[in-house]
C-alpha cells in the first residue's frame, strides 16, 4: 500500500499527488514512469514521473481526470489514503547532457513531466528555452516552475487568455526561422502536438525527442500493447522508450492505437458518473 502524502488541485480536472514510494523515489529519474493500480478492480495506470524526493520518499505525479480511473482517483483518493499498487521506475531515463541550447515544448498536462527534464537539462549546463501551451489560463500548471528554470519562457494559450494566442508550434517555427542555433528539442504533450512539432523541427534538422504515452497493461515489456513504429520498426514504449526520436515516430499509428478503447472508456466513465450521482443522492 502506498500513501498519498500530498494532493493539490492545479487546474480544472488536473491534480498533483505526492505518493510515498521510497524505493522509486530513491532511483527514479526524469523521463521514466510508474504504473499504479488504485484498488482490486482497478486498471494499471501508467503515469510519467514529475519529481522524486529521496529524502521524503515522495514521488510526484500530475493526473488529468479524463477517464473513469483518473476521475475516481481525483474524487475518492485524498491525502492520507493509500493506493493499492505502485511499481516503478519503468522505462528509460532522459539522456541528459550538455547539448548547448535546447527547447522544451510542453502541451497541457505534458508540461508536468517535461518540468524535471527541463530542470535536469538546465543543471547539465544547457541554455533552456521553454515553450508551454495551455487551452486557457485556468489550466496553467507548472508555470512558476518553468519561469524559475528556463532562461527564456514563451507561454501560449489557445484562446489568448494568457501569453500568446495559438499553439506551441507557432513560436517554435518563429524561433527556428529566426536562424537561432537550436541543438535539441523536447516535445511532450498530446500526440498531435508532438507530431506537428516534430514535423517543424525536421524541416530544420533539429534532433527532437518525444515521450509516447501509448495504451499499456504491465509497463514492463510483457503485453506489447504499447507498441509503436519508430523508423518503421515496432518498438515497445514501455521498455524501449518512452522517449523516442520524434522524426522517426509514426504518430498517426500512435493516435489510432490510443483511441482503440474509446467506446469502453466512455462506457466506464458514464457508469461511474451515474453511480457517483446515485451515491450522493443516497447520502443526502
Amino acid at each position: 500500500m502506498y500513501r498519498i502524502l500530498k494532493k493539490r488541485t492545479l487546474g480544472q480536472d488536473i491534480r498533483e499527488y505526492v505518493v510515498e514510494a521510497p524505493d522509486v523515489a530513491r532511483v527514479g529519474k526524469a523521463g521514466q514512469f510508474i504504473v499504479l493500480r488504485l484498488h482490486e478492480r482497478g486498471e494499471r495506470i501508467p503515469l510519467t514521473i514529475v519529481d522524486c524526493d529521496p529524502e521524503t520518499g515522495g514521488v510526484t505525479l500530475v493526473v488529468q481526470e479524463l477517464g473513469k480511473s483518473t476521475r475516481e482517483m481525483g474524487d475518492r483518493f485524498h491525502e492520507g489514503d493509500t493506493i493499492l499498487d505502485f511499481a516503478g521506475p519503468l522505462g528509460k531515463a532522459t539522456e541528459v547532457e550538455d547539448y548547448g541550447t535546447v527547447v522544451c515544448i510542453g502541451g497541457g498536462v505534458g508540461i508536468a513531466p517535461l518540468y524535471p527534464i527541463a530542470k535536469a537539462l538546465k543543471g547539465a549546463g544547457n541554455t533552456v528555452i521553454g515553450i508551454i501551451g495551455y487551452r486557457n489560463r485556468d489550466l496553467m500548471i507548472y508555470h512558476d516552475e518553468f519561469s524559475a528554470t528556463c532562461d527564456e519562457l514563451i507561454v501560449m494559450t489557445n484562446d489568448g487568455s494568457y501569453g500568446g494566442k495559438g499553439f506551441v508550434s507557432d513560436p517554435l517555427r518563429e524561433l527556428l526561422e529566426s536562424g537561432r542555433k537550436i541543438d535539441h528539442v523536447w516535445a511532450i504533450g498530446p500526440a498531435i502536438m508532438m507530431k506537428v512539432c516534430s514535423e517543424i523541427t525536421r524541416e530544420f534538422s533539429v534532433p527532437t525527442t518525444v515521450s509516447l504515452n501509448s495504451v499499456m497493461i504491465d509497463g514492463t515489456g510483457m503485453c506489447g500493447g504499447c507498441r509503436v513504429e519508430v523508423g518503421g520498426v515496432a518498438q515497445f514504449a514501455c521498455v524501449d522508450g518512452p522517449e523516442f526520436d520524434g522524426h522517426k515516430v509514426d504518430f498517426d499509428l500512435l493516435m489510432s492505437r490510443q483511441g482503440y478503447y474509446a467506446e469502453e472508456e466512455a462506457c466506464s466513465l458514464e457508469r461511474y458518473l451515474a453511480e457517483s450521482t446515485d451515491g450522493e443522492k443516497g447520502a443526502s
Binding site: D85, A87, V239
Partner: protein, 454 residues
Amino acid sequence: MREQEAAVRVGNFDEVPFGYTEDEAVEEAARCLQCPKAPCVDGCPVGIDIPGFIEHVKNRRFDDAIATIKAANALPAVCGRVCPQESQCQGVCTLGIRFEPVAIGRLERFCADWEADHEVCRPEIEPDTGKRIAVIGAGPAGLTAAGELRRRGHSVTILELLHVAGGVLMYGIPEFRLPKAIVRREIDTLCDMGIDIEVNQVVGQVRTVDELLDGGFDAVFVGTGAGLPRFLGVPGENLNGVYSANEFLTRTNLMSAYLFPEYDTPIKVGERVVTVGGGNVAMDASRTALRLGAGTSMIVYRRSEEELPARAEEVHHAKEEGIDFRLLTNPVEFLGEDGRLVGVRCIRMELGEPDESGRRRPVPIDGSEYVIEAETAVIAVGNGPHPLVPQTTPGLDLTRWGNIVADPETGQTSKPGVFAGGDIVTGAATVIQAMGAGKRAAAAIHTYVVNGFT
C-alpha cells in the same frame, strides 16, 4: 473424467473438468501395475514417487498420498491440471503400451484438491540457518525454488514485478483451465511456511542483482520467465485488433477484463477471432475468445495436426468447443480499414523436408493465398526472455537470444551466488520443467550457502 458440456462451458469461465470423486480416484488408482522400475518416475521432471502415491490412493490413504506428492512437488494442484502428462509420466506408463495409461495427472489433481478440503499436509521446515536468499519472479520456477529453500531452513524473499504472485499461472493460463483460487491457495501455503513475497518490485531498476548480493542476501535465484511477446513481423501487425497472446490473456486473466465494466480493464473481441500458433497458449487464447463472446474462433497454424505442440487434452477441448482449425496455413498480412483489423491474408502450406527441430518444414504453396475476415487476431507464437534482469546484471553470460546461461543441473550462472532456472534459461517451456529447474537450483543454492561452493 466428468466435465462441463462444451455448449455450456463456452458461456462461462469455470473450470472444464470436475475432478474425480473419491471412488473414481480409487478405481483409477487400482489400474496401476506398480511396476518395480516405475518408468513414470523418470518421466516426471520433479521425480514424484508416482507408484507410491497411487498405492496410497488405492488404499484410501489420501493424506499419505498427498504427503508423498508434496515431498517432491510444491504445486500439485497446478501440475495435475497443466502438465503435459502424455509426453511425461503417462507417456511412458507401462499400461499405455496396450491400454490407456493410468491417469496420473487426474489422480495428482484429486489428491491436491482433497487436501484443500481437509488441510492435513504441513511441510516440515528445518531450523533456521541464518542464510537469506532472494528469489526474483514469483512464477513456477521461483515459487518452487522458494518452497524448497524454505524447507531447508533458509530465509526466503520473493520479489515479483506484477501486483500479484504466480507469474504465468496468474496472467497467462485461463481461469477455465487453472482457477486462480487454486493458484492463490498454493501460494498461501508457501506464505504460511514463512516465505516473504513482495509484489510491485522492479528488480533491475530499483534494486539490481548486485545490490541484493551486497545488501545481505547470500544467494539470488532468477526465475523471471519468458515474458517478451514475439510478433510475426508481417505487414499490418500493429493495427488495432491485433493482440499479442500475452496482452489478450493478461487483460482477461490478471486484469479480469471478462468482468468489464465491473473491473476497469477492457478487452475487445468482435465477431471473428483468429489466433496464430499451435501451442497451449494458442489454445488458451482461442478458447478465451469464445468465452468473451466471439461468434467464431479460429486457430491458424503453419504445420499439421501432428506437430501441434499443445497438450492433447487442450486440442481435444478446443475442438469440442468448436474452434475452427486452419492447419498448414500461415498469415502473410493483416488487413485494416481506418486503423482497425478487418481480415488476415493467409497462405496455404505443405510439409517439406525435416528442419533442425526434426519436424517437417512448412513450405508456402504459391498462389494459394486467401483472406479470413476477422476483427481480432491474437499472435501466440512464443515469447522471448524478459529483458529487465539480464540487461541490468553485469557478469551474467547470456545466449544470443538473451537467455541466461545456466548449468542445467544446478542453475549456476556465470556469476557467483547467482542461479537461474525456468523459461529465462530455456526459453518458453512448460510449468513443470520450470519447477524442475527451480527444484534443482534450490538444492545447489542450499549447498552453496552452507558450504560456500556448489
